[in-house]
């Protein structure tokens, strides 16, 4: 159960904080990271009902700079970069020519000559090589090692963060970011996350990570803020049906099979993998990612076979006991004809075929505050809320309030623009 190691794992700037908090530390993607502090269930509940603080500094931040930055980002990604205005964030994918996913990432536009990717920790080296190889005339800078990333997630996130920053956090829309001070230190605050809750991802220079973490922990103490490890991060994202690279996505899986069609803009500009994806779209992906709920006793786990009428028809990519639902759910690839809602399949759990039903995703959707009882302006984007990543998509019944510090104009200090988080939810 406990493992020893040779001390070769990387540590984030917050490593000593985790130890002081009594975290259980594990290896993840080459990093020594907290898997839990007080227990996954309790941490999971804290994020759903109050707030949680996550150290995700292991994630990578890669900048794309210069007059050709936008063109390079477009060539590298499936989503439509033209839709990104300054201060906007987009969930997108880096695809290979054969349609396989190099990584799923978030792309930030600071200004037209400065973008950055937030990439998965285990993929930093691969992504950097891929991005450099396809950089064209843009300049690529890897800021992963000098950037810390702290996620504050949960219904209390807005009120906690507002205690530490001069900006009105409720005015920062989903999938927008702004430069602002947090606890007096320069930061990028992004209204994004990987939990299915409202919240923020906060980029700071690595030397400021401890101070910002400590300030957030203190500011949230009365609101039930808890430190959250990777264990609950995984159950939270799975309930929200957000893909995890290495599970739902990999070099052999296309974003169309993964149900990420909303983030693949085949009718827009050209990008790496577009020809193949056009072809796949015409043919129809042979397998589809589905949500499953166990109808018998057992928990599906990654790698368990999915069976139908005695034949293997798919494979589980992620599965757990859902703390919120109190039952076992899973994501799995199954052959396309069996991906219909309501289909009764089975999952091989240690030799037993346990019934499992195809159900809609996400498994969990947070309750939204009821819109004000005034007519909502018609111009609001209604975005195609047609799949599991739709969550965070722009809905904003309140008149938008401009942030006091537009990111595009604040960009004078390259040392503090860092990068990105990783988590997708909406933004088409």
């Amino acid at each position: 159960m406990s493992e020893s190691h040779g001390g070769t794992w990387q540590r984030t700037p917050l490593y000593e904080e985790h130890r002081a908090l009594g975290a259980k530390l594990v290896e993840f993607g080459g990093w020594e990271m907290p898997v839990s502090y007080r227990g996954i269930m309790e941490e999971h509940r804290a994020v759903r009902t109050a707030a949680g603080l996550f150290d995700v500094s292991h994630m990578g931040e890669i900048e794309v700079l210069g007059p050709h930055a936008g063109a390079t980002c477009q060539r590298l990604t499936c989503n439509d970069v033209r839709k990104l205005a300054n201060g906007h964030v987009q969930y997108t994918l880096l695809c290979r020519e054969d349609g396989g996913v190099v990584d799923d990432v978030t792309l930030y536009r600071v200004n037209e000559q400065r973008y950055f990717f937030c990439v998965n920790a285990s993929n930093i080296a691969k992504d950097l090589a891929w991005i450099q190889e396809n950089a064209g005339a843009a300049t690529i800078v890897d800021r992963s090692a000098v950037t810390a990333l702290i996620a504050l997630q949960g219904p209390a996130a807005v009120r906690i963060l507002e205690r530490l920053t001069p900006l009105t956090m409720s005015a920062l829309k989903s999938f927008r970011f702004a430069r602002a001070e947090v606890a007096g230190l320069p930061a990028f605050i992004s209204r994004t996350g990987y939990t299915g809750e409202d919240g923020f991802e906060i980029y700071v220079d690595a030397p400021h990570a401890v101070a910002v973490w400590a300030a957030l922990m203190a500011a949230g103490a009365d609101d039930g803020l808890e430190p959250i490890g990777l264990g609950a991060r995984d159950t939270l994202r799975l309930e929200a049906a957000l893909p995890l690279y290495g599970h739902e996505l990999d070099d052999q899986t296309s974003p169309l099979a993964a149900g990420l069609t909303r983030f693949v803009k085949l009718d827009g500009e050209d990008f790496l993998g577009r020809s193949y994806l056009l072809h796949e779209q015409e043919q129809g992906a042979p397998r589809r990612l589905v949500g499953l709920k166990m109808r018998g006793s057992g928990i599906a786990r990654q790698g368990y076979p999915v069976v139908f009428e005695g034949a293997t028809v798919g494979i589980v990519t992620s599965g757990t006991h859902s703390p919120t639902l109190g039952e076992a759910v899973a994501l799995a690839y199954v052959s396309a004809p069996l991906a219909t809602l309501g289909t009764l399949l089975a999952i091989q759990v240690r030799g037993r075929a346990v019934p499992a039903e195809v159900i809609p995703t996400p498994f969990y959707r947070r309750a939204r505050p009821a819109p004000a009882a005034v007519p909502v302006p018609e111009a609001l984007p209604t975005s195609g809320a047609d799949d599991e990543l739709t969550e965070e998509v722009t809905t904003d019944p309140v008149a938008p309030i401009e942030l006091t510090v537009p990111v595009d104009e604040a960009d004078t200090d390259p040392e503090t623009d860092d990068v990105p988080p990783a988590a997708p939810e909406g933004e088409s």
């Binding site: 159960m1 406990s2 259980k24 996954i40 269930m41 995984d234 006793s297 928990i299 006991h321 240690r350």
Partner: protein, 129 residues
């Protein structure tokens, strides 16, 4: 970590208590701590004949699946059905209400191959090192 003196322990972190030829078996406090919140328990069928080190059942936490091995051979006479609907009992009381199975022991001499409390404490300390 609690390690009651009255029990014997396996290297796979099971505990055994033998009373009148019947072994009560569960997982240790250390094991439940390492696993975290236990959400699923699979128990053997009544009458199942287990050889020492055979898979006796499965304990799953939110995060991980862990096999439980028979620390001693025998025939399953009772299983703790309460764990099926309340697996968290193992976290709360691993040496008491969280027991998993009772086994009619084939050969009580096998107990001698298990660790004492002092040996188990030492074993866990070494595993952590």
């Amino acid at each position: 970590m609690q390690v009651p003196e009255t029990l014997r322990y396996s290297e796979e972190h099971e505990w055994v208590l033998i009373t009148d030829g019947v072994a009560t078996i569960g997982i240790t406090d250390h094991a439940q701590e390492e696993l975290g919140d236990i959400v699923f328990v699979e128990l053997p069928a009544l009458g199942a004949v287990l050889t020492k080190t055979a898979t006796l059942g499965v304990v799953e936490s939110v995060k991980a699946v862990s096999d439980v091995y028979a620390p001693i051979g025998g025939t399953v006479t009772t299983v703790n059905e309460r764990l099926t609907s309340n697996p968290e009992i193992i976290n709360e009381d691993p040496y008491g209400e969280g027991w998993m199975v009772k086994v009619s022991v084939t050969d009580t001499i096998e107990v001698d191959g298990l660790m004492t409390a002092a040996q188990y404490r030492e074993f866990v300390a070494q595993e952590k090192a």
